[in-house]
Symmetry: D2
Subunit: 358 residues, 4 copies
């Protein structure tokens, strides 16, 4: 179950402190220009250690493409990519190898599998998302050719909500903050959490523009369902909203319905999706991240033998996973859309004729 | 893409005003007692027309099992179930066959497929969820044998939030209300909406108890991801939360982390899932429904030719889809858990030995 | 695992003596004219009791389409079809309910599932193939629009091999015989088998013409691999060959290679497939059926308790399953090709542009 | 479509002359000892250049495991393996970059994808099977713990058929010959082909012993169907037989039926499979390979512009692909069985109880 997607597929591998991590991207149409510099730049946006708000772990995250291209063009065969692990301090984890860190996956991996690679969380580490970002970069290259653009940024930190959204601004923000007027306050919240050996939650806004009408496969692979599944599957995510989201549950139909006009919709409470299918408007998704589980305060836990013990963590961790999480949300959205673009190609006989009449 | 699940699979068919709707449930282990009376009782909980809060459409929703059982026991072969459509008033839809009802799937189906069954929304009708409830009933029968119990109820209507949760109470509530102290106010909100030719949103709480530790398949079929995908794929859902949900994005790690003690967890902010795997605590999910798109006020829309026109709906509709939606959430949760129960069976070599050493 | 296909999908249900059998065909593009009379005519070709060479069981095999069409046109939603079971003589099977008929699936179903519907073989009955033929008819309707034609006939019976192939002739042959000069001898072999309470094997030739170049998805969904899997999965099949088939293992490269010329290939040893992808030449497949397992001679077997007993069968059975098997081979080939047609649509960026530039 | 298997899954990547090839094996239960020396030894059996009967291309085929194990034990996470490409002589292929080698995939890849890596056949090279053998080795490690053993050898070369089968003998045979009395004649046939700049076909026998009753998932993932699909998907395979195979089509039921006795079956015409499910007897499969397409005689072909040209190949090629193909057949059989072992775990409620009652 380490494959994501039905037709544009990513299969990932790798643990935080293993030899390498990477992915195979399968289903990429032949003839796509694979810009390796772009793929690396996407990884650079996600990689840790860029700012004082992030873990001190410095990972070079150098990507290598192993297959699937010829003279820089996709050939229709699987594109494998690999990132060798670098700056690992596995020693930091010796103290936790026999106990379960609260709010981490230690307890559940141990019980499910009977064995776990405790170093840096092993497979459950957020480091795995590097592979997603690499695959997401390929997805972006493909959907960009159709005019689809995906962007993400941080809209909220610890209850400090952004109001004005500026994706251009967020690109150069330490925090990927969308609202420059809230940025300072949000940064301070992260720093306060860090300085008190704590962590803090945050929320990410992801918007896709230029999405053609018709993406999404009812009943059980609707666009909204697929996005929600993708986002909730990112480490630390606990809530996902489409468009008006949770607030829509408090509204009346007369408030929430989006009237149609000649060139589209008057409003976008729907977040660009109706009946599980894109309606041509912007796809708007909000993803909520819990605070980083790793905090540097003493916590109660148990060890492998069921004894109650104290947990005192070492290691290096982001105080707020939502920040780099924004890049991951963007990748997952791109992957969902790339898959839906391919799946939609057989929606009707007109499409078949377009392809086969040549 | 009308199949849900990887190993415990439901494939559904049918339109609102077609001949019949139904499903094939595949992957049910042999030897399970299939209680047809129970399956019908689940459908009865979902069927419309039970109360004044629901559409006047009276559907008998009589289920027939066509295959997959022998002397009332599952044989390991696919279980097909069918519900013939009854009380259809297709005439009601003549006026909308050439225009797109706001907030409905009309516009997107038309653009994706180039054809649509406009009668009652066709495939996009919430009537399709009857098939999900039937399949969910089979899922429940299976997971019940392991001690897993799934329950849902309405926690919030139009911003009126329930506080105390009583699943027993909700079973006999017109509104499936979980908090009896809020029920009257919530019912009034629905009636007000109906009486003003409007509709209203609401939220459903779903809880699974007795879930064994270890369900969920990281990375891309995590339990939380699968639940979120399933819930967001239900008609009219716009937000999904696990455990502390969106609120977790406002908290600090020291507030949100669940400490472990000898017999489990001190708190359940996680909603029973860590690293995408069940941790043995209750699975807690909140699902938010937008207001019913069908309202009986004049709305702006366009017709198939792109002309701006007025939309005046007839027909019979629930003023609040969240109410019956609660039964659907329960079914989807049961289907996810049934699938995860089967998938988890090959998690480790101990499980293999258990099965094959016999 | 009762679903066949990746994008053009058939999910089937039903037992030989149950209430009904049928299928859901999912992934059919919208806008395809669904000719119900044609679907019925395909079923009529498969149905038993048409001639003295077949089982006396008379099944009407009346198909009903339950969903997925509107005014006779596919809508992109799942097409469900049902056949109610008629002329069942379940009593005939009372004598075998506790023992395992040799060469049947009784023994393996019992051991795998711990329960079996012994009436007529239950799910393992060749009667299940009626659902395949119905789904195959939908597949044919789709691929016919692209100029693809699939035909099957009997090439060999009990070692009597046809040499000249005439698909037109076979359509009106009792035996679906491809070589009219061998037909009489082949019919006599079947009648001899029947008259000696025995059965006999046979082979089916299936040819697809007009197949566009490019169908097949390497590595693990190659066209030849998919065809072989489909054919070997038909009841009683024990061998599958593509093109030159087994004989190619006795040849030299200089004999077996097909030289290319300006308008295609000089020869077709390859059977129309190179590297798992159609090359534009005819797809040629030979499928070999074992003799019907049900014979009316006393056989040695065991019962459910492991006691050695004698097996004396009653019931009505084709003496040669290959005959009606020809219709099933045709359906399976159509299903494989329909799936490959849809899968191939995202093979390259030119196809994407064709669809999305509109 | 570069993933094989449903629950025990292999996803492969890589081209003949690219950077590397490899695979991700997903679904391996945790707690399996991963013997890296064994994996390498399996690759060594497949690697070219071991004898005068094989291509002169010397590939070290050194495997590295990148993930999924901890202290040599599987952790339930994906096992990635990589083989960097070594001894490539891409220059040899300059002369064929604009034309289509007869009986190769050049023509079809070009037409499907519009681009191809012509160096050594790119993705369509039999070199890709190294990844299959690596994954197959992991499969073997798992099924061996249940007592299942898979063996392959060459039974026939150019029409010279082995009669006596000795798998032990074949292990040390240059030709993997199963019948030592035919080996010399078979070797001579290969050498004659090579010396006349030609190639030759051959057939492989694969036998699995110790297979538990019950493997195989009817209807559309039957054991025989899955095996046939797997074998026919190997490069150069044109025919697959189970048990009595093609010969069964010439027999009568009274000859072909396998009578049951107290401890199993009297005969094994069925090849160990009934109704698509293993019956406890040996699984017997024969796989037929066409002669190597690359021959060193002048051939007619066309170039990319459709001009008729002469093809004169350089490079290094096995004169008989069936020999090393035997190792690949073995790997594919192991992969199918490993998948079926996992899939079967949810066949009945007894299995569920075995796993969850602990």
């Amino acid at each position: 179950m380490n494959t994501f997607g039905s037709k544009f597929k990513m299969t990932t591998f790798g643990e935080s402190h293993g030899v390498a991590l990477g992915c195979i991207v399968d289903g990429v149409p032949a003839g796509l220009s694979i810009d390796e510099v772009f793929v690396q730049s996407e990884l650079d946006r996600r990689k840790p250690g860029k700012s004082r708000l992030e873990t001190g772990r410095k990972e070079e995250d150098k990507i290598e493409i192993l297959s699937g291209t010829f003279d820089g063009i996709s050939t229709g065969t699987p594109i494998a990519m690999i990132i060798y692990n670098g700056d690992q301090k596995s020693k930091d984890y010796d103290s936790v190898k026999d106990l379960f860190r609260p709010a981490h996956a230690d307890f559940t991996y141990w019980n499910k599998y009977g064995i776990r690679d405790y170093r840096g969380g092993g497979r459950s580490s957020a480091r795995e998302t590097a592979a997603r970002v690499a695959a997401g970069a390929i997805a972006k290259l493909m959907i960009n050719t159709l005019g689809i653009k995906v962007q993400s940024g941080v809209i909220s930190i610890g209850g400090i909500h952004g109001v004005n959204v500026d994706f251009e601004y967020s690109k150069n923000s330490l925090l990927y903050a969308l609202d420059k007027n809230k940025e300072e306050e949000q940064i301070k919240a992260v720093e306060d959490a860090r300085d008190t050996h704590d962590s803090i939650g945050g929320s990410v806004l992801t918007v896709a523009t230029g999405v053609p009408i018709g993406l999404g496969e009812p009943m059980y692979h609707k666009l909204d369902g697929a996005i929600a599944g993708a986002m909730m599957g990112i480490n630390a995510v606990k809530g996902v909203e489409i468009g008006e989201g949770i607030n829509s549950a408090t509204l009346k139909g007369s408030q929430n319905n989006d009237a149609l006009v000649a060139n589209g919709f008057k409003t976008n409470h729907a977040g660009g999706i109706l009946g599980g299918i894109s309606n041509g408007d912007d796809i708007v998704v909000t993803t909520h991240f819990k605070p980083t589980p790793s905090i540097f305060q003493e916590q109660d836990t148990v060890d492998k033998n069921g004894n109650e013990v104290k947990c005192n963590l070492k290691g290096r961790h982001d105080p707020c996973v939502a920040i780099r999480g924004a890049v991951v949300c963007e990748a997952m959205m791109a992957l969902v859309l790339a898959d839906m673009v391919l799946l939609n190609m057989s929606a009707n006989m007109e499409h078949l004729k377009s392809v086969y009449s040549k």
